[in-house]
């Protein structure tokens, strides 16, 4: 009896735990000042969070959205954590990626980060994770800003720890742009507060119809969209991203690339659909058309830039710019099919990019190579790592039988439903361009003689993490119940909005 009561108790507090567990972990990691122990602490967090997230999803699926009043103050007065299908899905994505990256990273971090900084690295990593999870679970507009700052500040630290001196410039660039983004966001939220007197997202959704179509409201919408656009690296606000991904420590790149921008996309979804509602912002502002155009330009220009990169991490970063375009494109379609495509692509792309960046981390560990030309012959000397790279690359291209195909199918179908054939063309052309930049690596890795016969052996846990994600890319290419099924349920929830 008491056990049952206890279990019920824990379930109730899941949303709070999702943010608090990594926060506590970060404090512990900072206090111990020892890299190995700090890693163990963060691994424990990385293993606990997926469990918390999955339990949250079950709870939501079983009995609807969870509302958690922080400190016992009932919303809308107190801060509310509110979890429905959309953010439960995102929470799983972020926590699983954190777990996989943490499990694979210790020796790669030992290799790339100064010994005195290692504990700080894990502390920053966990703080970043705390910020991301917080942004996901919170139901309060200002609280979003707080967690956004937590994650951003931690990310600047992570990037700055890269062993290349250019990492400092990259971190500084991101610091400036990230701060501008967060400031824009908070200005928008301030305007909303002034107009409605509330910060609670559900409350906002209910009060907005009364002040619909007033100029301050449009201003607020514009500030929030641009602020989030900067955070999610929507073309042409993506300039911070390639350097940040390229010069951060490899496993930090893997984590940030697969999660951070997705959380900003989630916030965009949340505001566009749940708070403003499909009836207001999208029909009365050119937002959808604008998104569609920017997304299309991102997809083509991002892929094009990726083709001409010489640094493999920068190549993957530009590929991310293009893949973010796919996600935004799905959102801009404002249909269930399109949204399903966009949301499932967040998950699928996280797996794919995670696998690619971790494989690159293994390559960097083994050979020190970051230029594509330096990867000569690795197909023969590191077959497992490069095998994972190729499989994930096929996912990026969207070959059937991989996760990438599933989301692209939804996106193409969504465009076809609305008769937007030029969008279909953009999607397939951008996919084809991925053949070029992935193919380039394949040619170098298999058709050139190795630079050295025996590269240093990459740590097995790192290779295993890449392989696990590559296998997941294939599995989610066939079994779509979670990746696309829950995404499509989440799309329905979002289209309904909070207000109705």
């Amino acid at each position: 009896m008491s056990v049952e009561h206890h279990a019920f108790h824990v379930t109730e507090h899941l949303p709070a735990l999702a943010a608090v567990v990594p926060l506590v972990g970060a404090v512990l990691a900072a206090l111990v000042r020892n890299g190995t122990i700090a890693w163990l602490v963060s691994l424990a967090v990385g293993l606990a969070l997926p469990v918390i997230s999955i339990l949250m999803l079950w709870e939501v699926q079983a009995s609807g959205p969870i509302s958690y009043a922080l400190g016992g103050w009932a919303p809308p007065v107190g801060i509310e954590f509110r979890v429905d299908l959309a953010n439960a899905y995102l929470a799983i994505l972020v926590s699983v990626m954190a777990g996989v990256v943490l499990a694979g990273s210790p020796r790669s971090i030992d290799d790339e980060v100064n010994p005195e900084n290692r504990a700080w690295y894990y502390a920053a990593f966990l703080l970043c994770l705390c910020g991301l999870m917080g942004m996901i679970v919170t139901g309060d507009a200002f609280n979003v800003f707080v967690f956004m700052e937590v994650s951003s500040l931690a990310t600047y630290i992570l990037i700055a720890m890269g062993r290349d001196r250019r990492a400092l410039v990259a971190a500084y660039q991101y610091l400036i742009i990230g701060t501008v983004g967060a400031t824009f966001y908070v200005i928008g939220v301030g305007l909303l507060l002034a107009m409605t007197g509330t910060l609670n997202l559900v409350d906002l959704a209910q009060r907005l119809p009364q002040i619909e179509a007033t100029r301050p409201l449009f201003t607020a919408v514009a500030f929030i969209i641009v602020g989030l656009g900067l955070k999610l690296a929507l073309f042409p606000m993506h300039l911070w991203l390639p350097n940040a991904y390229a010069y951060a420590p490899s496993s930090a790149s893997a984590f940030v690339a697969s999660t951070a921008t997705k959380v900003a996309v989630y916030l965009l979804l949340r505001f566009t659909f749940s708070v403003y509602g499909v009836d207001f912002v999208l029909p009365e502002t050119p937002a959808a058309t604008l998104f569609m155009i920017l997304a299309s330009v991102a997809m083509i220009s991002g892929s094009l830039s990726a083709i001409f990169q010489t640094n493999v991490k920068r190549m993957l970063a530009y590929s991310s710019v293009s893949q973010i375009g796919y996600i935004i494109l799905g959102i801009a379609m404002i249909s269930e099919t399109g949204l399903t495509g966009g949301i499932s692509h967040m998950f699928n792309h996280a797996l794919i990019k995670g696998a690619l960046f971790i494989a690159v981390a293994a390559v960097i560990f083994a050979t020190g190579a970051v230029r594509i030309d330096d990867m000569a012959g690795l197909g023969r000397t590191m077959p497992v790592t490069m095998g994972a790279f190729v499989i994930a690359g096929l996912g990026l291209i969207g070959v059937p039988g991989t996760a990438g195909f599933i989301s692209k199918w939804y996106l193409i179908q969504g465009a076809a439903e609305q008769g937007m054939w030029w969008i279909v063309a953009v999607i397939v052309v951008s996919s084809l361009m991925a053949v070029f930049y992935i193919g380039r690596v394949v040619e170098v890795a298999w058709f050139r003689a190795p630079l050295s016969d025996a590269p240093r052996r990459a740590p097995p846990e790192l290779v295993l993490a890449a392989v696990a994600l590559a296998v997941a890319v294939v599995i989610f290419g066939f079994f779509t119940e979670f990746s696309a099924g829950v995404a499509s349920d989440a799309a329905r929830v979002l289209l309904e909005g909070y207000a109705r």
């Binding site: 096929l394 291209i397 969207g398 070959v399 059937p400 039988g401 599933i406 199918w409 939804y410 193409i412 179908q413 076809a416 439903e417 054939w421 279909v424 063309a425 397939v428 052309v429 996919s431 084809l432 053949v435 070029f436 193919g439 040619e443 298999w446 058709f447 066939f478 079994f479 779509t480 696309a484 499509s488």
Partner: protein
């Protein structure tokens, strides 16, 4: 065993074989035994399934649902059964040949070679069993990806460059055209399942849209090598000859024309196409490809390049016949898949045997080769005659049915294309045999007999087997007609022309 279980086995066996080959990689004899055992096992399973399909069974399996309403489906039907039978039969012969060729030429990296080969065959079986467009697309792409390492097997700069052409053209066409076309069908008809009679009748597409969709499909299927997306095929000839033989004369290109035929019959429906004439533009393009590619073949001195252009031309027979969309033409198209497969593989085996024994690659080097390699060149001659379309070889039947189909549809230009092409076939194939048999070898000394130097025995066995198939299928053509009768009901004894005459009499 139930038919569905047999289907599972047929679909999985090549992949299991690939794993087995990988595990046995250190011991070449064991590795080759695994290849042969897998090929033999697959053949038995496919033949058993063929018998059941002939008895009227139509087993289907639906293992995984991928999207709401769209699953990975496998359904057996006559066309697919025909392609699966061709692919699995020739895999055995080709494996025997490969062993002779790869060992005879001391090729490097043989284990990955056999692994990719088995995976490619698995792809071909998947294509032939596919129950809807999505499944077809999945295996179609697998076939492209698994053959890329085979095309680039030599690892030279040339192989790399040609591999690029291969991958970009095949993946490019399928991603840019075929995938959107599939989704167009899905949005218009609500299904992508292969349905007898087609799914697009009544889907609200105008004739113009149907013509556009059909053309997109035909170019989306780059493996059918309709001009001008045929460049990948000559490029692929950089691969070792067994790859050219089985994959680029049989499995890959036949997967292309098979998809063409399957989409024509089961997605558009030949009645709809015949009514609207939506496929005629493609028929004209295919007719032009038949003639043009034969002309290019004439100009090629490299034996494999000549055979490659010949393949481009022969593939367009199938596309042209499918696009004419009469029952007789469809039978001709399906039969040509089998006819060209056995004939062209014989020619490629011959080319490979000549390379293995004498390292000759150009037609102009082949003076007197028939005196040194009588078995090789004799079988090569049989293959040539079958391609040209002379009885008693299988090639004659498919051309006959295509001609009848053209006449049924009042497209008499088809007959002209067939005639011109046959003449061109003679012009580019017969000189090879003629040179080989009638011109004295350059190194021959007058008065002395020419020393025999044949290819390895494994190569010869394979050559004899495929040449025999060319002959046997001529007599077995009625079996093929029975198999295909369901998809294209024609009464051979009573051609439509006579039927019209009867009406007039009344």
């Amino acid at each position: 065993m139930t038919s569905t279980l047999l289907m599972d086995i047929a679909l999985l066996l090549p992949f299991a074989g690939a794993i087995g080959i990988w595990l046995a990689g250190r011991w070449p004899n064991l590795r080759e035994a695994v290849t042969l055992a897998t090929a033999g096992g697959l053949f038995i399973v496919v033949i058993t399934l063929l018998m059941r399909v002939l008895d009227g069974e139509r087993p289907e399996i639906h293992p995984i649902q991928l999207f709401p309403g769209v699953s990975i489906d496998f359904v057996l039907e006559p066309l697919g059964m025909l392609f699966a039978t061709v692919a699995s039969t020739l895999w055995i012969v080709n494996s025997v040949y490969s062993i002779g060729y790869m060992r005879g030429n001391n090729e490097p990296r043989q284990t990955p070679f056999y692994i990719c080969f088995a995976v490619a065959i698995g792809g071909a079986i998947g294509v032939s069993f596919a129950g809807n467009l999505l499944t077809l697309f999945l295996y179609y792409e697998l076939l492209t990806l698994s053959t890329y390492p085979l095309v680039t097997h030599k690892g030279t700069d040339e192989a790399k460059a040609k591999g690029r052409v291969y991958l970009i053209l095949l993946m490019g066409t399928s991603m840019l055209l075929m995938l959107p076309a599939i989704i167009w069908v899905l949005t218009a008809a609500g299904t992508t399942e292969f349905t007898p009679g087609g799914v697009l009748a009544g889907a609200g597409l105008t004739t113009g849209m149907l013509a556009v969709l059909y053309t997109i499909f035909m170019y989306g299927i780059g493996k059918a090598a309709l001009m001008p997306v045929h460049f990948w095929l000559p490029a692929a000839m950089v691969a070792p000859t067994p790859v050219s033989a089985l994959l680029h004369a049989v499995a890959v290109v036949k997967a292309g024309v098979f998809s063409v035929l399957k989409i024509t019959v089961y997605i558009f429906g030949i009645d709809l196409l015949a009514e609207t004439g939506a496929s005629l533009p493609v028929a004209y393009i295919a007719g032009a490809t038949v003639v043009l590619a034969s002309m290019v073949a004439l100009t090629r001195d490299n034996l494999k390049a000549r055979l490659a252009y010949s393949t481009v031309s022969q593939l367009s027979y199938v596309v042209m016949a499918a696009a004419i969309a009469t029952p007789a033409a469809v039978i001709g198209a399906a039969m040509h898949i089998a006819a060209h497969a056995v004939s062209k593989i014989t020619l490629f085996f011959g080319a490979g045997a000549i390379y293995t024994a004498h390292h000759l690659t150009e037609v102009s080097q082949l003076d007197g080769i028939g005196r040194k390699m009588p078995i090789t060149l004799g079988t090569f001659l049989i293959g040539s005659l079958s391609i040209i379309g002379l009885p008693p070889l299988i090639g004659v039947w498919s051309k006959w049915w295509i001609g009848v189909g053209g006449a049924d549809a009042d497209q008499y230009w088809v007959l002209a294309v067939l005639m011109i092409s046959s003449l061109l076939n003679i012009a580019y194939l017969m000189p090879i045999a003629a040179r080989g048999f009638f011109v004295a070898p350059p190194d021959a000394k007058p008065g002395e007999p020419v020393a025999l130097k044949e290819a390895p025995i494994a190569c010869l066995l394979a050559l004899l087997a495929t040449a025999a198939l060319c002959l046997l299928l001529f007599f077995g053509a009625s079996e093929l007609e029975t198999l295909l009768a369901e998809i294209a009901p024609v009464d051979a004894a009573q051609p439509p022309v006579e039927g019209e005459a009867n009406v007039n009499l009344q």
